[in-house]
């Protein structure tokens, strides 16, 4: 593990996005999809589904209409990279959507933009208008529209997102059927994260080899990280995957880092003793980009309390394991802190959180145990005293 942290510039670098599309349109859909599969690109929103496979499934469906959705409902605490991508290189996102549309056979695309980013609307509409003109010149029939969210974290879950687009409460659907067979308005739909679409475009330009050479077996390529918390250099960095948390903390820590929350409120808390053995990526701890550093001045109780408050408010309330579970975990740690419940009550709460992982309907409830168990296991005394 002698590899140093390597900065990469695939996402934010300027490219001739129209030229990439022009060349792509000369190739067959299968060729491009095979390239994306071969590159090993996995969804960059957090869940990490292989992008090429998603496109292939959507392509193989027979339907009179298919849709491409760009998931810009970036709500995970500690993540802010999609906003920056949409600000700096919107044309690359749009071109990535068009590339996906070409591959799966869709003529309509939507950007689902969270309400908190409404200030981006004027510049995005302008970019879309220009892009439509260019597509006309390329004789490719593809229209992009924007759907605005209204402040619901759970709408970042792809089926909740489509419910919201259909004008309903943003409650996740049962899977299967998966969106690639029955998605928006019941039609085959490929929902991809903002960053994923740009990577797919870059693989369209460079071919899969360059991307594949970076990273590790399960986590190919590079990734945009959102770095915040107790760090002298907060911000957005595109880094090659495959580094350990120790390397990461050496680069971004303030010298007193006691824990890093990898993957936001739904991710894992890693304590200092485990930095060396923790790989950032799908072999270790995956992240949609959120990296929050905490130094020894921080109370891990307050941090866990904030995460649980967040989840309790953002739980859609549809299934009881998540709705009731979040409330009880939040109440529970408060009771232990105040001495109303004995410390051993934490074990009961951990059992409850395990139940949430098994019984919750969507990723929100299923991932609440991640921060809960990792913080309790690593910092039990801070929760009790």
């Amino acid at each position: 593990m002698e590899k140093k942290i390597k900065k990469v510039d695939l996402i934010f670098g300027k490219v001739d996005h129209l030229d990439i599309l022009k060349n792509a349109f000369q190739r067959t859909r299968d060729e491009i999809i095979l390239d994306v599969i071969d590159s090993g690109l996995r969804g960059r929103g957090g869940a990490g589904f292989p992008t090429g496979l998603k496109w292939k499934f959507a392509k193989n469906e027979e339907a009179d209409q298919k849709y491409v959705i760009c998931n810009a409902d970036e709500g995970e605490p500690g993540t802010f990279k999609d906003r920056e991508i949409l600000t700096q290189v919107p044309e690359k996102v749009l071109a990535g959507m068009a590339l996906c549309g070409y591959c799966i056979g869709a003529s309509e695309g939507y950007i689902y933009l969270r309400a908190e980013y409404n200030f981006l609307l004027p510049s995005l509409y302008k970019a879309i208008d220009e892009f439509h003109e260019h597509l006309k010149a390329l004789k490719f029939d593809f229209t992009i529209r924007i759907c605005s969210g209204s402040g619901a974290y759970v709408c970042g879950e792809e089926t909740a997102l489509m419910e919201s687009m259909e004008g309903k409460r943003g409650e996740p659907r049962n899977k299967p059927p998966f969106p690639t067979s029955e998605g928006y308005l019941g039609k085959p739909t490929s929902v991809n994260n903002v960053e994923t679409l740009v990577f797919a475009l870059m693989i369209g330009q460079e071919g899969p080899t360059k991307f594949k050479e970076m990273g590790t077996f399960d986590s190919r390529g590079s990734k945009v990280f959102s770095v915040s918390g107790d760090t002298p250099t907060p911000g957005i960095y595109e880094l090659e995957l495959g580094m350990t948390l120790e390397q990461f903390v050496e680069e971004f820590g303030d010298g007193d880092t006691k824990a890093v929350q990898v993957g936001g409120a739904s991710g894992f808390c890693v304590a200092r003793k485990d930095f060396k053995s923790t790989l950032i990526g799908f072999e270790g701890i995956p992240t949609g980009g959120s990296m929050m550093l905490f130094n020894s001045s921080r109370s891990m109780y307050n941090i866990l309390n904030d995460y649980l408050e967040f989840m309790e408010e953002e739980s859609c309330g549809q299934c009881s394991p998540c709705r009731v579970g979040c409330q009880q975990l939040l109440k529970g740690i408060e009771a232990v802190k105040k001495g109303i419940k004995s410390p051993s009550y934490l074990e009961d709460l951990q059992k409850l959180s395990d139940t949430m992982r098994i019984a919750s309907k969507c990723g929100l409830g299923q991932s609440v145990p991640n921060p809960f168990n990792s913080i309790i296991n690593n910092f039990r005394e801070e929760i009790i005293y």
Binding site: G75, Y153, G167
Partner: protein, 155 residues
Amino acid sequence: MTRIKELVKEQAEKHGRERTSLMPILQAVVRSEHYLSEEAMIAIAEELDLSTADVFGTASFYTFLDTVPRGKYIVRVCKTITCHMKGKDEIIRTISDILKIKLGETTTDGRFSLLQANCLGWCHKGPVMLINDEVYPEITPEKTSEIINEYLKKK
């Protein structure tokens, strides 16, 4: 026809009367009226041929679709982790002192509401607040009072 009904009709004509138009119409009414009144939701239900319960059920799901009256300027201070660590409480106190309202309240002249919001996506530049759609990252209590005072001068 009342003003609200006219607004709803105008929006329905613009966005269409499909179910997929519900969100854009709700958002447009909130932009103009700062919240969804009972009258507005009934009007929307009639225009789109939905049940009023369905319209309310949808609206009440979303934090940014308020169903109680809000001010012309809705101030939302981010409260999530990093902004908490970087001093959002002081920001809220500052705004509270200037506007003489507590969290969740609206000034008596109906111009300002003060709310907290979950992660606004500016964790590297916290604390941060939104005033309607406008973002103010990296604020201090001093900067905050300047910004709020600027808004107070507006009509």
